[in-house]
């Protein structure tokens, strides 16, 4: 308890609180502007944490990430255009409400339910620590190795798309992670005689190339701003707050759905919002109003948006297994800061884990408070043209990559992975499995080596390892079945037409 309270004071110290506010400010703008994703911005900001202590660094990064989904809802309600992929479900009822002159009420509801969701997610994260600690401490190298494999399997299997291409991208990620000096023999692997590659490929140029370059090109391809003329008056915002309290049960249930889906690697926010929305519709007394401007629909979408973040941090911190692209980038931040996710985060660095809980809560309070105060001014950000951001993003990308080693080759690596990222998007190969495998590669290799040293291949027959293999096989089986169903469904209309 002392650590829990103490970590609050750590977050409130200067410069940590200043960095939190800066992160919230950036997250605000990123959330509102479509075309600039939260994960990409997280990647762009990663180079700035070099030299920082863990808590200020997470205040900056997590403070930014925690509010992106909150402000992403604003454009969903006002323009029917989601600022973030996780704010799509907000359109279903938020935008019809805005069209019938209830924009203020919809915004009040979605913002306040987002805040409630964030607090519930953070509370579950804090409460999970005493439960996760004995579990994590009982795990050995074989279990951690299988957990890493399970995390990647889930991300490939559950995040949609093609299973084979997903696994292939994961294998490419693992191989790219092998570049550099072999940790056990000190011999260079896949270095092609380049001294630069002896240290391996740094996470920042790789992430920036994979994610930031394709998104910037996309922004250059679509030049306009999202705002289409003036918005109506934004009034009766507090009515939305009252609605959230009146429908507390929907808000609570959908927040908890978000937390538990967040824990499962690969499910992610895009899935969570639709599951919560469907649940709210099924349990509503007025299901026919959904899609036409139901306040319950708005609350479901709002509350799930932020609660999932608390859930997603649990496997990242406790097992070092990130469940989404953003969490994989956050795991990259752990490595930059010299922290090893896993048992240490629940014992030696417990203060950092609890600080993350407070950062999620505080950043959402600040974001929602400012949103209520500056709603009208925030809307004006939507008039910023995409082309105005392009030179700024190119500077951040270039400097972000370059500052890794102050070496031009870092920019070359970024461009090379930019080409990979472009090809992956163009030909339908998912990028998240690559990133997860690249981040988890060194850890997985270490655990495999230790497991093999301790038990030979018999480590695969340990009870927990076997259980994890069974879960992975079930995940793959589920995905294969879904792919077949999708293919059958896609063939049916063609057959009917013929």
């Amino acid at each position: 308890m002392d650590v829990f309270v103490g970590s609050l004071f750590t977050v409130l110290q200067w410069p940590t609180v200043g960095l939190l506010l800066l992160g919230v400010g950036i997250g605000f703008v990123v959330g509102i502007l479509p075309g600039l994703g939260g994960a990409v911005t997280l990647a762009l900001m990663l180079p700035f944490i070099y030299g920082m202590d863990p808590v200020p660094a997470f205040a900056f990064l997590l403070g930014m990430h925690a509010v992106v989904a909150t402000t992403g809802d604003i454009t969903s309600v006002l323009f029917g255009i989601p600022g973030e992929g996780t704010a799509v479900a907000t359109i279903f009822d938020g935008h019809p409400m805005a069209q019938r002159g209830e924009a203020g009420r919809a915004l009040g509801a979605v913002l306040f339910s987002s805040l409630v969701g964030a607090v519930i997610g953070a509370a579950v994260l804090a409460l999970s620590v005493p439960i996760m600690r004995p579990l994590v401490l009982s795990f050995g190298p074989p279990e951690f190795f299988m957990l890493a494999m399970l995390g990647i399997t889930f991300v490939v299997a559950l995040s949609g798309g093609n299973l084979v291409r997903g696994f292939l991208m994961a294998f490419v990620g693992f191989i790219v992670a092998m570049v550099g000096l072999d940790p056990f023999t000190g011999r260079p692997r896949f270095a092609f005689g380049q001294l630069y590659l002896w240290d391996g490929l740094s996470i920042i140029p790789v992430i920036l190339g994979l994610f930031a370059i394709p998104e910037t090109l996309q922004l250059m391809s679509t030049k306009g701003s999202i705002a289409q003329g003036a918005t109506g008056p934004i009034v009766r915002v507090l009515d939305g707050v009252v609605d959230t309290i009146r429908h507390w049960s929907v808000t609570l249930r959908c927040s908890l759905i978000g937390v538990f889906i967040g824990i499962i690697p690969g499910m992610g926010g895009a899935t969570a919002q639709f599951i919560a929305y469907a649940h709210a519709q099924q349990t509503s007394k007025t299901p026919k109003e959904f899609g036409k401007g139901s306040i319950e629909g708005v609350l479901a979408a709002g509350s799930v948006n932020n609660s999932k973040e608390g859930g997603a941090i649990i496997p990242t911190v406790a097992f070092g297994v990130p469940g989404s692209t953003a969490m994989a980038i956050l795991l990259g931040a752990f490595l930059i800061l010299g922290l090893v996710p896993g048992p240490d985060m629940l014992t030696k660095h417990l203060d950092v884990t609890f600080a993350m809980v407070w950062i999620i809560v505080l950043s959402n309070f600040v974001a929602v408070g400012l949103s209520f105060l500056l709603l009208r001014q925030l809307v004006s950000i939507t008039f910023v043209k995409g082309s105005w951001l392009v030179p700024f993003l190119l500077v951040l990308m270039t400097m972000g990559a370059y500052t890794t080693h102050n070496d031009v080759l870092d920019i070359v690596v970024m461009l090379a992975f930019g080409a990979v990222g472009w090809g992956a998007i163009r030909f339908g190969w998912p990028r998240a499995p690559f990133l997860l495998a690249f981040v988890l590669g060194p850890t997985a290799e270490r655990y495999l080596f230790l497991s093999h040293q301790l038990y030979e291949w018999g480590f695969l027959l340990r009870p927990i390892t076997l259980a994890l293999i069974a879960v992975a096989v079930l995940g793959i089986g589920y995905s294969v079945r879904r792919e077949r169903q999708d293919r059958r469904a896609a063939r049916q209309p063609t057959g009917a037409a013929a």
């Binding site: 490419v172 056990f184 011999r187 391809s221 082309s387 500077v395 400097m399 495999l448």
Partner: protein, 181 residues
């Protein structure tokens, strides 16, 4: 959303009527779809070749310790990569390009121009130059607006990176006297 990709240089938003009757010009939809089909095959073959090279290197150059992790992965990787190549070869329909993957030719040209200028003259000069030229001609902004933005962009880099963070800017291949390369 549209299931076919527009040709490079188009707006990226396909009109519904276009899908029904794709133009058969050298730069029309038919051509782009065929190119994407070949590109997808080339991408898959490239992955297979990389895996084959990795398998060869692992088993000829590395000690048993250094290749343990790689060998655990490479067999399923090769099998799946071969399967993907076969799938691409047997693909009956041309590949559909998702809307987020449609980059206009001008975006690619401007992106290339930025990095070419960076290589030639370094970041200190590229930033104001690119910001001005891009906003003036690609975004169609007025001269004063583009000029002020270029100046602010240069100030941002100079103040934040050079003065505050003391980060050296990447220099260019062409030495320019008076420019901090």
């Amino acid at each position: 959303m549209t299931t076919t990709g527009p040709p490079p240089g188009s707006s990226g938003v396909g009109a519904p009527g276009r899908e029904a009757t794709p133009p058969r010009t050298p730069h029309g939809y038919t051509h782009v779809r065929a190119l994407d089909g070949r590109g997808a095959l080339v991408f898959s073959v490239a992955v297979l070749v990389v895996f084959a090279y990795v398998a060869y290197e692992l088993n000829t150059s590395f000690s048993s310790r250094a290749r343990l992790f790689g060998n655990a992965l490479i067999v399923p990787a090769l099998v799946l990569a071969a399967l993907q190549v076969v799938r691409e070869l047997r693909r009956a329909q041309p590949l559909s390009v998702p809307p987020e993957a449609v980059f206009t030719a001008s975006a690619l040209v401007w992106g290339t121009a930025f990095f070419a200028a960076l290589w030639a003259v370094g970041l200190a000069l590229t930033i104001p130059l690119f910001a001005f030229v891009y906003l003036r001609w690609a975004a169609g902004e007025a001269w004063p607006k583009a000029g002020v933005y270029a100046l602010l962009a240069w100030l941002f880099v100079e103040v934040s990176f050079v003065r505050l963070l003391h980060v050296p800017l990447p220099g260019g291949a062409i030495p320019l006297p008076g420019i901090a390369n």
